[in-house]
């Protein structure tokens, strides 16, 4: 799997047409200059040899050198990755805080007017472009009301929490529709389950049934849904970071791509791939830990 990820990142950068040397040196560079840049980048060597070097470097924790920012890619990413992870985590948190109650209301009032209005707004929510929502939030909450800063990530935990609120909210809103939809479906399944009927028959209060039996079992699908969509969320974070000019790896990727910083692009793509892989694994483990069946074992 890791092998596949390195292969794809490598292939993407090397097989996609376009000459990195020309991009670096500009249109008027002489053939000699181009050749020397190619040699410096190591792209005049055979592909297999290049791939080998790429993999060996990864083994040493080296991901190449960014010409755009004049820093080794690995130190750059180590500094910026936490911001992205924090943003995505923050976004997921907001989405869950907003989404679980919405899904609960929707599922318990199935086919009622509340359910229909929630479902209706979800259809709209599904079609909201995150960058547009982000801009509107900036226009209204940051520029007009001045409640939040316009951009940047801030420094220190409370400051970060405040700075990244709008980006995280944007991310949460772009994910909310997907979350509530799937969560509503699984909650309805849970509500139909025998153990819920039994709890109701035993005379346990409605509130207690919902909190103790339904919500707990609904958290597992919620974790699954978040896990399945983390890849999507990481992708969305690229756009959101760009809108709010947050210095995470997503915004760095966009800048790297725009200025054709090939090694940086390669490094970031690799980090994204490994990240999704690790998160998928973590979700599997969390899921197992949350399952009530495991308490017996």
């Amino acid at each position: 799997m890791l092998f596949g990820i390195t292969l794809v990142t490598f292939a993407m950068v090397h097989l996609v047409p376009g000459d990195p040397a020309r991009a670096l040196a500009g249109q008027r560079a002489t053939p000699q200059i181009l050749a020397s840049i190619r040699h410096q980048l190591g792209i005049d060597r055979p592909l297999l040899q290049q791939y080998w070097h790429f993999v060996v470097d990864i083994g040493h924790g080296q991901l190449g050198y960014s010409f755009l920012l004049h820093q080794p890619t690995d130190t750059l990413l180590a500094a910026r990755l936490p911001t992205t992870l924090f943003l995505v985590g923050y976004g997921v948190m907001i989405a869950v805080v907003l989404g679980v109650p919405l899904a609960m209301i929707s599922a318990t009032h199935k086919e009622g007017w509340l359910d229909h209005s929630i479902k209706g707004s979800l259809v709209v929510g599904l079609g909201l472009p995150s960058f547009w929502i982000g801009l509107l939030l900036i226009a209204f909450l940051a520029l007009r009301l001045k409640w939040f800063p316009v951009g940047g990530a801030g420094s220190g935990f409370p400051d970060e929490l405040w700075h990244l609120f709008l980006p995280a909210l944007t991310l949460a809103l772009s994910f909310l529709a997907v979350l509530v939809r799937s969560l509503r479906a699984s909650l309805i399944d849970v509500l139909d389950a025998d153990y819920v009927s039994l709890a109701v028959l035993k005379g346990i209060t409605r509130r207690r049934v919902y909190v103790r039996h339904v919500l707990r079992n609904a958290l597992i699908p919620a974790v699954t849904i978040v896990g399945l969509n983390l890849s999507y969320l990481l992708g969305a974070s690229v756009v959101v970071e760009s809108v709010f000019s947050v210095d995470g790896i997503g915004n760095t990727l966009v800048n790297a791509v725009l200025s054709r910083d090939y090694q940086l692009v390669q490094g970031i793509a690799l980090v994204f791939g490994v990240l999704v892989l690790m998160i998928t694994l973590a979700v599997d483990i969390t899921q197992a830990a949350l399952s009530p069946r495991n308490e017996l074992a």
Partner: protein, 298 residues
């Protein structure tokens, strides 16, 4: 041999073209769930007509510069206001619908055709080919879709063709996975065995007997995929990697207006609203089709 459950005996159907047909679908176009499909189709029809009739509807062309009327708020003369070059936002939004709709449809169609073909072949042949495909899918899914697209577009150089290529390289995978699962579900059913045992050519078995029975799921998926294709194209253009100026495109218009978002909100607001309306139309159609497919098979 035909799709069952659509309420008419198979013998009454014209021979040889099984699958969803309008006459078979019509009885399902009733009830509350169907409103979604009809509303979606209606909205889409209005959007398409507006886009096609753009020259008739708009008083200005999307690229006419008018420095004397720059950054004007929405008014009777300019319904959606003007941008910093005095270009009419209404005209630009309406003309953008053309390019955005074409991009969304062509992206989804390409993914659908390639993905379905690969899925059918992999599911049918099985063994080595199938496991290779599954590895490819695993690896491709490890990357955020948008990240892959941004990388490929960025490395090839921004533009419509790059966007189209980048999305096509990745998006067929979702269809292939879906179709492959469907094929494996039915390939050992009795009617497939019967078709295989008869003297039909492989092409005929696959095209006439297998395909109509596995095509519904990817079709339903494609209808909701339109939303993602639309948002994806707009996102990539927003980042400056998609459609290049002066061709108006919603994502790019929002990017252009983002510097003015504080005071001249209309620059970015209207193209975004157009995306939302179009996306809602696609979503409603997708939801409607999904309901019909569920009930048709259940």
């Amino acid at each position: 041999m035909t799709v069952t459950g659509l309420g008419r005996p198979a013998a009454q159907r014209p021979l040889g073209r099984p699958g969803l047909r309008l006459s078979a679908v019509l009885p399902f176009l009733r009830g509350r769930e169907r409103i979604s499909l009809l509303a979606g189709c209606g909205m889409l029809a209005i959007i398409v007509i507006t886009a096609v009739a753009a020259p008739v509807i708009c008083r200005y062309t999307p690229t006419t510069l008018n420095p004397l009327a720059s950054l004007q708020p929405p008014s009777a003369a300019h319904y959606f206001g003007t941008d910093q070059f005095g270009r009419d936002i209404f005209a630009r939004t309406v003309y953008s619908a053309r390019i955005d709709l074409i991009i969304a449809f062509s992206l989804v169609t390409t993914a659908f055709v390639i993905g379905t073909t690969v899925g059918v072949i992999a599911g049918w042949v099985g063994r080595g080919l199938d496991s290779v495909l599954m590895r490819v899918i695993d690896v491709a899914l490890a990357f955020p879709f948008l990240v892959l697209v941004i990388c490929i577009v960025g490395l090839r150089g921004p533009g419509l063709l790059s966007l189209y290529l980048a999305v096509s390289i990745v998006s067929w995978i979702f269809y292939a996975r879906l179709v492959r699962a469907e094929v494996r579900n039915i390939r050992h059913s009795e009617y497939m065995l019967a078709a295989e045992a008869s003297d039909f050519s492989t092409l005929r078995v696959l095209g006439r007997h297998l395909l109509p029975n596995v095509i519904i799921q990817p079709l339903v998926y494609a209808s909701s995929d339109l939303v993602y294709a639309l948002l994806l194209a707009a996102s990539v253009s927003y980042l400056g990697l998609g459609i290049q100026p002066p061709t108006p495109e919603w994502g790019q218009m929002i990017q252009d207006g983002s510097t003015f978002i504080g005071a001249q909100w209309w620059l970015s607001f209207f193209p975004g609203a157009a995306i939302v309306v179009t996306a809602v139309a696609f979503s409603l159609i997708g939801d409607g089709l999904a309901t019909i497919a569920r009930e048709g098979s259940g």
